[in-house]
Amino acid sequence: MRGAAPPLRLMNPRERRRFWLGHWRLGLPALSVLGLLLLATAPLPLSLPLMPPLGLLGVFVWATFQPGLMPPWLAFLLGLVADVLLAMPFGVNATLFAAVAGFVRWFESRYGHHTHGFDWAMAAGVVAAHALLTAQLMTLASHPVPLAPLVLQWLTSLFAYPAVAALCGWLQRAVFGARTAT
Protein backbone atom coordinates (compact mmCIF):
# COMPACT_ATOMS: atom_id res chain seq x y z
CA MET A 1 0.00 0.00 0.00
CA ARG A 2 2.88 2.40 0.79
CA GLY A 3 5.16 3.88 -1.80
CA ALA A 4 8.07 2.06 -0.15
CA ALA A 5 7.00 -1.35 -1.45
CA PRO A 6 9.11 -2.60 -4.37
CA PRO A 7 7.45 -3.00 -7.77
CA LEU A 8 5.28 -6.11 -8.02
CA ARG A 9 7.44 -7.84 -10.64
CA LEU A 10 10.58 -7.45 -8.54
CA MET A 11 9.07 -9.10 -5.45
CA ASN A 12 9.92 -12.60 -4.41
CA PRO A 13 6.88 -14.86 -3.73
CA ARG A 14 6.97 -14.21 -0.01
CA GLU A 15 6.98 -10.46 -0.47
CA ARG A 16 4.22 -10.72 -3.04
CA ARG A 17 2.06 -12.77 -0.69
CA ARG A 18 2.65 -10.25 2.06
CA PHE A 19 1.78 -7.44 -0.33
CA TRP A 20 -1.54 -8.96 -1.31
CA LEU A 21 -2.44 -10.16 2.19
CA GLY A 22 -1.65 -6.68 3.48
CA HIS A 23 -4.81 -5.51 1.76
CA TRP A 24 -6.92 -6.90 4.59
CA ARG A 25 -6.28 -3.55 6.24
CA LEU A 26 -8.67 -1.97 3.72
CA GLY A 27 -11.42 -3.95 5.46
CA LEU A 28 -11.34 -1.88 8.64
CA PRO A 29 -12.21 1.49 7.10
CA ALA A 30 -14.72 -0.21 4.81
CA LEU A 31 -16.46 -2.07 7.63
CA SER A 32 -16.45 0.92 9.96
CA VAL A 33 -18.01 3.16 7.28
CA LEU A 34 -20.59 0.45 6.55
CA GLY A 35 -21.43 0.42 10.26
CA LEU A 36 -21.78 4.20 10.27
CA LEU A 37 -24.05 4.02 7.22
CA LEU A 38 -26.28 1.49 8.95
CA LEU A 39 -26.31 3.73 12.00
CA ALA A 40 -27.46 6.59 9.78
CA THR A 41 -30.62 4.61 8.96
CA ALA A 42 -31.45 4.28 12.67
CA PRO A 43 -34.92 5.35 13.75
CA LEU A 44 -34.70 8.64 15.64
CA PRO A 45 -37.78 9.91 17.49
CA LEU A 46 -37.39 13.41 16.02
CA SER A 47 -39.59 15.13 13.50
CA LEU A 48 -36.72 17.14 11.99
CA PRO A 49 -34.16 15.60 9.63
CA LEU A 50 -31.26 15.81 12.05
CA MET A 51 -29.28 12.64 11.39
CA PRO A 52 -25.77 13.73 10.33
CA PRO A 53 -24.24 12.20 7.19
CA LEU A 54 -22.24 9.65 9.18
CA GLY A 55 -21.02 7.73 6.15
CA LEU A 56 -19.53 10.86 4.61
CA LEU A 57 -17.84 11.79 7.89
CA GLY A 58 -16.43 8.27 8.13
CA VAL A 59 -14.97 8.47 4.62
CA PHE A 60 -13.51 11.90 5.39
CA VAL A 61 -11.99 10.80 8.69
CA TRP A 62 -10.36 7.71 7.18
CA ALA A 63 -9.09 9.71 4.25
CA THR A 64 -7.37 12.09 6.65
CA PHE A 65 -6.10 9.38 9.05
CA GLN A 66 -4.96 6.79 6.52
CA PRO A 67 -5.22 8.03 2.91
CA GLY A 68 -3.83 4.68 1.77
CA LEU A 69 -6.73 2.82 3.36
CA MET A 70 -9.48 4.99 1.87
CA PRO A 71 -8.68 5.09 -1.86
CA PRO A 72 -11.33 6.75 -4.04
CA TRP A 73 -12.47 3.43 -5.52
CA LEU A 74 -13.26 2.11 -2.04
CA ALA A 75 -15.10 5.34 -1.26
CA PHE A 76 -17.02 4.85 -4.51
CA LEU A 77 -18.15 1.35 -3.48
CA LEU A 78 -19.15 2.62 -0.04
CA GLY A 79 -21.05 5.43 -1.72
CA LEU A 80 -23.01 2.88 -3.74
CA VAL A 81 -24.02 1.17 -0.50
CA ALA A 82 -24.98 4.57 0.92
CA ASP A 83 -27.19 5.23 -2.11
CA VAL A 84 -28.97 1.93 -1.61
CA LEU A 85 -29.44 2.34 2.13
CA LEU A 86 -30.60 5.96 1.95
CA ALA A 87 -32.88 5.31 -1.06
CA MET A 88 -31.11 7.86 -3.24
CA PRO A 89 -30.52 7.42 -6.99
CA PHE A 90 -27.43 5.31 -7.75
CA GLY A 91 -24.37 7.47 -8.15
CA VAL A 92 -25.11 10.48 -5.92
CA ASN A 93 -23.14 9.43 -2.87
CA ALA A 94 -20.86 7.18 -4.94
CA THR A 95 -19.62 10.17 -6.92
CA LEU A 96 -19.37 12.46 -3.91
CA PHE A 97 -17.64 10.00 -1.57
CA ALA A 98 -15.05 9.24 -4.24
CA ALA A 99 -14.58 12.97 -4.84
CA VAL A 100 -14.13 13.59 -1.10
CA ALA A 101 -11.55 10.81 -0.77
CA GLY A 102 -9.70 12.07 -3.85
CA PHE A 103 -9.83 15.68 -2.68
CA VAL A 104 -8.53 14.90 0.83
CA ARG A 105 -5.74 12.75 -0.61
CA TRP A 106 -4.66 15.51 -2.97
CA PHE A 107 -4.96 18.21 -0.28
CA GLU A 108 -2.90 16.32 2.28
CA SER A 109 -0.24 15.24 -0.18
CA ARG A 110 0.15 18.85 -1.20
CA TYR A 111 -0.26 20.74 2.07
CA GLY A 112 0.62 18.07 4.65
CA HIS A 113 -1.30 16.77 7.62
CA HIS A 114 -3.06 19.09 10.03
CA THR A 115 -4.29 19.39 13.58
CA HIS A 116 -7.65 18.15 14.79
CA GLY A 117 -9.11 21.66 14.76
CA PHE A 118 -8.12 22.27 11.16
CA ASP A 119 -9.54 18.88 10.13
CA TRP A 120 -12.78 19.76 11.93
CA ALA A 121 -13.11 23.02 9.99
CA MET A 122 -12.26 21.16 6.79
CA ALA A 123 -14.93 18.56 7.57
CA ALA A 124 -17.46 21.38 7.97
CA GLY A 125 -16.50 22.69 4.56
CA VAL A 126 -16.58 19.25 2.97
CA VAL A 127 -20.04 18.46 4.41
CA ALA A 128 -21.36 21.82 3.18
CA ALA A 129 -19.98 21.18 -0.30
CA HIS A 130 -21.42 17.66 -0.16
CA ALA A 131 -24.86 19.06 0.73
CA LEU A 132 -24.79 21.57 -2.13
CA LEU A 133 -23.58 18.98 -4.64
CA THR A 134 -26.11 16.42 -3.38
CA ALA A 135 -28.88 18.84 -4.29
CA GLN A 136 -27.29 19.36 -7.71
CA LEU A 137 -26.76 15.66 -8.43
CA MET A 138 -30.25 14.76 -7.21
CA THR A 139 -31.58 17.30 -9.71
CA LEU A 140 -29.40 15.68 -12.38
CA ALA A 141 -31.00 12.34 -11.51
CA SER A 142 -34.41 14.08 -11.93
CA HIS A 143 -35.23 13.93 -8.24
CA PRO A 144 -34.89 17.55 -7.04
CA VAL A 145 -34.66 18.17 -3.30
CA PRO A 146 -34.84 21.41 -1.30
CA LEU A 147 -31.71 22.61 0.47
CA ALA A 148 -33.19 23.48 3.88
CA PRO A 149 -33.06 19.94 5.36
CA LEU A 150 -29.48 19.58 4.14
CA VAL A 151 -28.55 22.72 6.10
CA LEU A 152 -29.92 21.17 9.30
CA GLN A 153 -27.88 18.09 8.57
CA TRP A 154 -24.80 20.25 8.20
CA LEU A 155 -25.33 21.72 11.67
CA THR A 156 -25.59 18.31 13.33
CA SER A 157 -22.58 17.03 11.41
CA LEU A 158 -20.49 19.75 13.12
CA PHE A 159 -21.20 18.00 16.40
CA ALA A 160 -20.90 14.50 14.98
CA TYR A 161 -17.42 14.98 13.52
CA PRO A 162 -15.44 14.69 16.80
CA ALA A 163 -17.38 11.55 17.74
CA VAL A 164 -16.74 9.90 14.37
CA ALA A 165 -13.07 10.91 14.50
CA ALA A 166 -12.72 9.48 18.02
CA LEU A 167 -14.42 6.24 16.97
CA CYS A 168 -12.22 5.77 13.89
CA GLY A 169 -9.09 6.70 15.86
CA TRP A 170 -9.94 4.17 18.52
CA LEU A 171 -10.61 1.48 15.90
CA GLN A 172 -7.30 2.20 14.21
CA ARG A 173 -5.36 1.97 17.48
CA ALA A 174 -7.20 -1.16 18.57
CA VAL A 175 -6.71 -3.04 15.29
CA PHE A 176 -3.42 -1.77 13.86
CA GLY A 177 -1.67 -0.95 17.13
CA ALA A 178 -0.86 2.31 18.90
CA ARG A 179 2.16 3.23 16.78
CA THR A 180 0.13 3.64 13.58
CA ALA A 181 -2.05 6.36 15.07
CA THR A 182 -1.31 9.79 13.68
Binding site: L46, P49, P71, L140
Partner: protein
Protein backbone atom coordinates in the same frame (compact mmCIF):
# COMPACT_ATOMS: atom_id res chain seq x y z
CA UNK B 1 10.99 9.04 -7.96
CA UNK B 2 9.59 8.23 -11.34
CA UNK B 3 7.68 5.33 -9.84
CA UNK B 4 6.07 7.61 -7.27
CA UNK B 5 5.05 9.97 -10.03
CA UNK B 6 3.59 7.09 -12.01
CA UNK B 7 1.66 5.88 -9.00
CA UNK B 8 0.29 9.38 -8.45
CA UNK B 9 -0.81 9.58 -12.08
CA UNK B 10 -2.45 6.16 -11.90
CA UNK B 11 -4.22 7.22 -8.70
CA UNK B 12 -5.51 10.38 -10.35
CA UNK B 13 -6.71 8.42 -13.38
CA UNK B 14 -8.50 5.87 -11.21
CA UNK B 15 -10.13 8.65 -9.21
CA UNK B 16 -11.28 10.36 -12.37
CA UNK B 17 -12.61 7.11 -13.82
CA UNK B 18 -14.50 6.31 -10.63
CA UNK B 19 -16.11 9.75 -10.50
CA UNK B 20 -17.01 9.50 -14.17
CA UNK B 21 -18.64 6.12 -13.51
CA UNK B 22 -20.69 7.72 -10.76
CA UNK B 23 -21.88 10.48 -13.08
CA UNK B 24 -22.79 7.94 -15.77
CA UNK B 25 -24.81 6.02 -13.17
CA UNK B 26 -26.63 9.25 -12.33
CA UNK B 27 -27.54 9.71 -15.96
CA UNK B 28 -28.77 6.12 -16.11
CA UNK B 29 -30.85 6.79 -12.99
CA UNK B 30 -32.28 9.85 -14.72
CA UNK B 31 -33.35 7.85 -17.76
CA UNK B 32 -34.59 4.73 -15.96
CA UNK B 33 -35.47 5.26 -12.29
CA UNK B 34 -36.00 1.51 -11.86
CA UNK B 35 -32.26 0.92 -12.40
CA UNK B 36 -31.01 -1.51 -9.73
CA UNK B 37 -34.39 -2.14 -8.13
CA UNK B 38 -33.42 -5.71 -7.22
CA UNK B 39 -30.37 -4.59 -5.27
CA UNK B 40 -32.42 -2.01 -3.42
CA UNK B 41 -35.06 -4.57 -2.51
CA UNK B 42 -32.37 -6.86 -1.10
CA UNK B 43 -30.90 -3.99 0.91
CA UNK B 44 -34.30 -3.22 2.40
CA UNK B 45 -34.53 -6.85 3.46
CA UNK B 46 -31.17 -6.56 5.22
CA UNK B 47 -31.78 -3.30 7.07
CA UNK B 48 -35.35 -3.84 8.26
CA UNK B 49 -34.81 -6.96 10.39
CA UNK B 50 -31.75 -5.30 11.93
CA UNK B 51 -33.65 -2.32 13.25
CA UNK B 52 -36.71 -4.33 14.24
CA UNK B 53 -34.47 -6.39 16.49
CA UNK B 54 -32.49 -3.42 17.83
CA UNK B 55 -35.54 -1.34 18.64
CA UNK B 56 -37.52 -4.17 20.26
CA UNK B 57 -36.21 -3.59 23.83
CA UNK B 58 -36.84 0.17 23.53
CA UNK B 59 -40.38 -0.44 22.29
CA UNK B 60 -40.94 -2.83 25.19
CA UNK B 61 -39.66 -0.25 27.65
CA UNK B 62 -41.91 2.42 26.14
CA UNK B 63 -44.93 0.13 26.37
CA UNK B 64 -44.13 -0.64 30.01
CA UNK B 65 -43.97 3.06 30.84
CA UNK B 66 -47.24 3.66 28.99
CA UNK B 67 -48.97 0.89 30.94
CA UNK B 68 -47.65 2.15 34.26
CA UNK B 69 -48.78 5.70 33.56
CA UNK B 70 -52.13 4.36 32.34
CA UNK B 71 -53.01 3.22 35.86
CA UNK B 72 -52.92 6.77 37.15
CA UNK B 73 -56.05 8.68 36.30
CA UNK B 74 -57.78 5.59 34.94
CA UNK B 75 -61.07 6.40 36.69
CA UNK B 76 -61.11 9.93 35.35
CA UNK B 77 -60.48 8.71 31.85
CA UNK B 78 -63.13 6.02 32.07
CA UNK B 79 -65.70 8.69 32.93
CA UNK B 80 -64.59 10.80 30.00
CA UNK B 81 -64.79 7.83 27.66
CA UNK B 82 -68.28 6.90 28.81
CA UNK B 83 -69.49 10.41 28.08
CA UNK B 84 -67.88 10.23 24.65
CA UNK B 85 -69.43 6.84 23.89
CA UNK B 86 -72.88 8.25 24.58
CA UNK B 87 -72.21 11.16 22.24
CA UNK B 88 -70.78 8.99 19.50
CA UNK B 89 -73.65 6.51 19.68
CA UNK B 90 -76.05 9.24 18.63
CA UNK B 91 -73.79 10.19 15.72
CA UNK B 92 -73.44 6.54 14.71
CA UNK B 93 -77.21 6.24 14.34
CA UNK B 94 -77.26 9.26 12.07
CA UNK B 95 -74.39 7.80 10.07
CA UNK B 96 -76.20 4.49 9.63
CA UNK B 97 -79.20 6.31 8.21
CA UNK B 98 -76.85 8.17 5.87
CA UNK B 99 -75.31 4.88 4.77
CA UNK B 100 -78.72 3.52 3.77
CA UNK B 101 -79.51 6.66 1.83
CA UNK B 102 -76.09 6.57 0.19
CA UNK B 103 -76.55 2.94 -0.90
CA UNK B 104 -79.92 3.74 -2.40
CA UNK B 105 -78.58 6.76 -4.24
CA UNK B 106 -75.57 4.80 -5.48
CA UNK B 107 -77.86 2.15 -6.88
CA UNK B 108 -79.98 4.80 -8.56
CA UNK B 109 -76.95 6.49 -10.06
CA UNK B 110 -75.20 3.21 -10.91
CA UNK B 111 -72.22 4.57 -9.03
CA UNK B 112 -69.39 2.10 -8.88
CA UNK B 113 -67.50 2.53 -5.68
CA UNK B 114 -64.23 0.63 -5.54
CA UNK B 115 -63.72 -1.20 -2.29
CA UNK B 116 -60.71 -0.64 -0.13
CA UNK B 117 -58.77 -3.85 0.29
CA UNK B 118 -56.33 -4.55 3.08
CA UNK B 119 -53.12 -6.17 1.86
CA UNK B 120 -51.12 -6.42 5.06
CA UNK B 121 -50.69 -4.95 8.50
CA UNK B 122 -47.14 -4.26 9.56
CA UNK B 123 -45.12 -2.10 11.85
CA UNK B 124 -42.93 0.82 10.91
CA UNK B 125 -39.41 -0.22 11.77
CA UNK B 126 -37.58 3.00 11.09
CA UNK B 127 -38.24 6.37 9.53
CA UNK B 128 -35.14 7.76 7.90
CA UNK B 129 -33.96 11.10 9.20
CA UNK B 130 -31.67 13.62 7.63
CA UNK B 131 -31.45 12.16 4.17
CA UNK B 132 -32.35 13.84 0.93
CA UNK B 133 -35.08 11.24 0.49
CA UNK B 134 -37.60 10.82 3.29
CA UNK B 135 -38.57 7.19 3.60
CA UNK B 136 -39.55 4.64 6.21
CA UNK B 137 -39.11 0.90 6.42
CA UNK B 138 -41.98 -1.47 7.22
CA UNK B 139 -41.82 -5.13 8.07
CA UNK B 140 -43.99 -6.50 5.26
CA UNK B 141 -42.96 -7.24 1.69
CA UNK B 142 -43.68 -9.30 -1.39
CA UNK B 143 -44.37 -12.39 0.65
CA UNK B 144 -47.25 -10.53 2.27
CA UNK B 145 -48.51 -9.22 -1.07
CA UNK B 146 -47.06 -5.72 -0.82
CA UNK B 147 -46.12 -4.14 -4.15
CA UNK B 148 -44.75 -0.70 -5.06
CA UNK B 149 -47.41 1.99 -5.30
CA UNK B 150 -49.72 0.98 -2.49
CA UNK B 151 -51.07 3.38 0.15
CA UNK B 152 -49.88 3.05 3.76
CA UNK B 153 -52.30 4.25 6.41
CA UNK B 154 -51.90 4.53 10.18
CA UNK B 155 -54.67 4.80 12.74
CA UNK B 156 -54.53 8.61 12.69
CA UNK B 157 -54.15 9.11 8.97
CA UNK B 158 -52.11 8.74 5.83
CA UNK B 159 -48.39 7.88 6.11
CA UNK B 160 -47.25 7.46 2.49
CA UNK B 161 -46.98 4.92 -0.26
CA UNK B 162 -44.68 1.97 -0.91
CA UNK B 163 -41.86 2.47 -3.42
CA UNK B 164 -39.53 -0.53 -3.00
CA UNK B 165 -40.50 -3.98 -1.85
CA UNK B 166 -38.19 -6.70 -0.61
CA UNK B 167 -39.29 -10.19 0.34
CA UNK B 168 -40.27 -9.42 3.91
CA UNK B 169 -39.92 -5.66 4.10
CA UNK B 170 -40.66 -2.55 2.09
CA UNK B 171 -39.61 1.04 1.85
CA UNK B 172 -42.26 3.70 1.75
CA UNK B 173 -42.10 7.28 0.58
CA UNK B 174 -43.30 9.54 3.38
CA UNK B 175 -45.63 12.49 2.82
CA UNK B 176 -42.79 14.84 3.82
CA UNK B 177 -40.60 13.80 0.87
CA UNK B 178 -40.31 16.41 -1.90
CA UNK B 179 -41.44 13.78 -4.42
CA UNK B 180 -44.67 13.02 -2.58
CA UNK B 181 -47.95 14.36 -4.04
CA UNK B 182 -51.31 13.59 -2.49
CA UNK B 183 -54.61 14.80 -4.00
CA UNK B 184 -56.74 16.11 -1.13
CA UNK B 185 -60.08 17.73 -0.40
CA UNK B 186 -60.60 20.44 2.16
CA UNK B 187 -63.25 18.99 4.44
CA UNK B 188 -64.97 22.32 5.20
CA UNK B 189 -65.21 23.67 1.64
CA UNK B 190 -64.86 20.64 -0.59
CA UNK B 191 -62.04 22.34 -2.46
CA UNK B 192 -59.53 20.08 -4.22
CA UNK B 193 -55.78 20.60 -3.86
CA UNK B 194 -52.45 18.85 -3.78
CA UNK B 195 -50.34 18.27 -0.69
CA UNK B 196 -46.61 17.84 -1.17
CA UNK B 197 -43.60 17.61 1.09
CA UNK B 198 -40.50 19.76 1.20
CA UNK B 199 -38.24 17.71 3.42
CA UNK B 200 -39.27 19.48 6.60
CA UNK B 201 -41.75 18.29 9.21
CA UNK B 202 -44.67 20.22 7.67
CA UNK B 203 -46.39 19.69 4.32
CA UNK B 204 -47.23 22.31 1.68
CA UNK B 205 -50.66 22.73 0.10
CA UNK B 206 -50.60 23.74 -3.57
CA UNK B 207 -52.70 23.73 -6.74
CA UNK B 208 -56.03 24.58 -5.21
CA UNK B 209 -58.91 24.04 -7.59
CA UNK B 210 -62.61 24.75 -7.38
CA UNK B 211 -64.32 27.49 -5.36
CA UNK B 212 -61.72 29.89 -4.04
CA UNK B 213 -62.75 29.95 -0.42
CA UNK B 214 -59.87 31.19 1.66
CA UNK B 215 -58.54 28.46 3.86
CA UNK B 216 -58.54 28.84 7.61
CA UNK B 217 -56.17 27.64 10.23
CA UNK B 218 -57.44 24.28 11.48
CA UNK B 219 -59.05 23.16 8.20
CA UNK B 220 -58.87 19.41 7.87
CA UNK B 221 -57.62 17.78 4.69
CA UNK B 222 -58.76 14.35 3.50
CA UNK B 223 -57.57 12.30 0.56
CA UNK B 224 -59.82 12.83 -2.43
CA UNK B 225 -59.28 9.42 -4.02
CA UNK B 226 -58.04 10.96 -7.27
CA UNK B 227 -54.92 9.53 -8.85
CA UNK B 228 -55.80 5.93 -8.18
CA UNK B 229 -53.49 5.19 -5.25
CA UNK B 230 -54.91 6.68 -2.07
CA UNK B 231 -58.49 5.78 -1.06
CA UNK B 232 -60.78 8.77 -0.41
CA UNK B 233 -61.56 10.04 3.06
CA UNK B 234 -58.27 9.30 4.81
CA UNK B 235 -57.08 12.18 7.03
CA UNK B 236 -53.94 13.80 5.62
CA UNK B 237 -53.42 16.79 7.88
CA UNK B 238 -54.58 20.07 9.37
CA UNK B 239 -53.80 23.52 7.98
CA UNK B 240 -51.53 25.31 10.45
CA UNK B 241 -50.76 28.41 8.42
CA UNK B 242 -53.30 29.69 5.91
CA UNK B 243 -50.97 32.30 4.36
CA UNK B 244 -48.89 31.39 1.32
CA UNK B 245 -47.17 28.99 1.35
CA UNK B 246 -50.00 27.13 3.04
CA UNK B 247 -48.54 24.84 5.68
CA UNK B 248 -50.14 21.56 6.75
CA UNK B 249 -49.33 19.48 9.79
CA UNK B 250 -49.54 15.77 8.90
CA UNK B 251 -52.32 13.89 10.68
CA UNK B 252 -50.12 10.88 11.35
CA UNK B 253 -46.42 10.77 12.06
CA UNK B 254 -44.37 7.75 10.98
CA UNK B 255 -42.32 8.03 14.15
CA UNK B 256 -44.91 6.96 16.68
CA UNK B 257 -47.14 5.16 14.23
CA UNK B 258 -46.35 1.61 15.27
CA UNK B 259 -48.65 -0.51 13.16
CA UNK B 260 -49.90 0.57 9.76
CA UNK B 261 -52.26 -0.81 7.12
CA UNK B 262 -50.98 -1.39 3.62
CA UNK B 263 -53.92 -1.34 1.21
CA UNK B 264 -54.24 -2.23 -2.44
CA UNK B 265 -54.05 0.77 -4.78
CA UNK B 266 -57.57 2.21 -4.58
CA UNK B 267 -58.50 2.32 -8.24
CA UNK B 268 -56.17 1.95 -11.18
CA UNK B 269 -56.47 4.52 -13.94
CA UNK B 270 -59.53 4.04 -16.20
CA UNK B 271 -59.11 1.25 -18.72
CA UNK B 272 -57.81 3.27 -21.63
CA UNK B 273 -55.19 0.62 -22.19
CA UNK B 274 -57.26 -1.84 -24.25
CA UNK B 275 -57.84 0.69 -27.03
CA UNK B 276 -54.31 2.04 -27.02
CA UNK B 277 -50.90 0.53 -27.56
CA UNK B 278 -49.12 0.32 -24.24
CA UNK B 279 -45.88 2.23 -24.11
CA UNK B 280 -43.40 2.03 -21.29
CA UNK B 281 -43.45 5.69 -20.45
CA UNK B 282 -46.37 6.79 -18.29
CA UNK B 283 -48.62 9.09 -20.32
CA UNK B 284 -50.95 11.48 -18.50
CA UNK B 285 -54.60 10.65 -18.98
CA UNK B 286 -55.30 14.02 -20.56
CA UNK B 287 -52.78 13.30 -23.30
CA UNK B 288 -54.24 9.92 -24.22
CA UNK B 289 -56.41 10.18 -27.31
CA UNK B 290 -58.74 7.56 -28.66
CA UNK B 291 -57.90 6.64 -32.23
CA UNK B 292 -54.64 8.42 -32.88
CA UNK B 293 -53.54 12.02 -32.86
CA UNK B 294 -56.71 13.49 -34.36
CA UNK B 295 -59.09 11.57 -32.14
CA UNK B 296 -60.98 12.81 -29.13
CA UNK B 297 -59.47 13.22 -25.75
CA UNK B 298 -61.07 10.90 -23.27
CA UNK B 299 -62.88 12.60 -20.46
CA UNK B 300 -62.58 16.01 -22.12
CA UNK B 301 -63.97 15.78 -25.65
CA UNK B 302 -65.94 12.56 -25.40
CA UNK B 303 -68.64 13.56 -22.88
CA UNK B 304 -69.07 16.89 -24.68
CA UNK B 305 -71.06 15.20 -27.48
CA UNK B 306 -74.38 16.46 -26.07
CA UNK B 307 -73.10 19.99 -25.72
CA UNK B 308 -72.72 20.47 -29.48
CA UNK B 309 -76.36 19.71 -30.36
Amino acid sequence: MRRDQNLAIIGAVVTGAVIATGLVMLLIARVSPQFGAGVRAAAVDVVTPLWSVVRAPFDGLGRGIDMASGYFGAVHRAEQLEAEVARLRARLQAAEADQIAFRQLSRLGRLENPQRRLVATARIVSASQGTAVQTALIAAGRNQGVRPGQPVIAAKGLIGRTIETGLGSSRLLLLTDPQSRVPVLVQRTGQAALVSGDGGPLLVLTDQAGPQDPLQRGDRLLTSGEGGIFPPGVPVGVVTDAAEPIRVRPAASPLGAGFVRIEAAYAALPATADTLPITDAPVPVEAQRVGGIKGTVRGIDAPAGGGQG
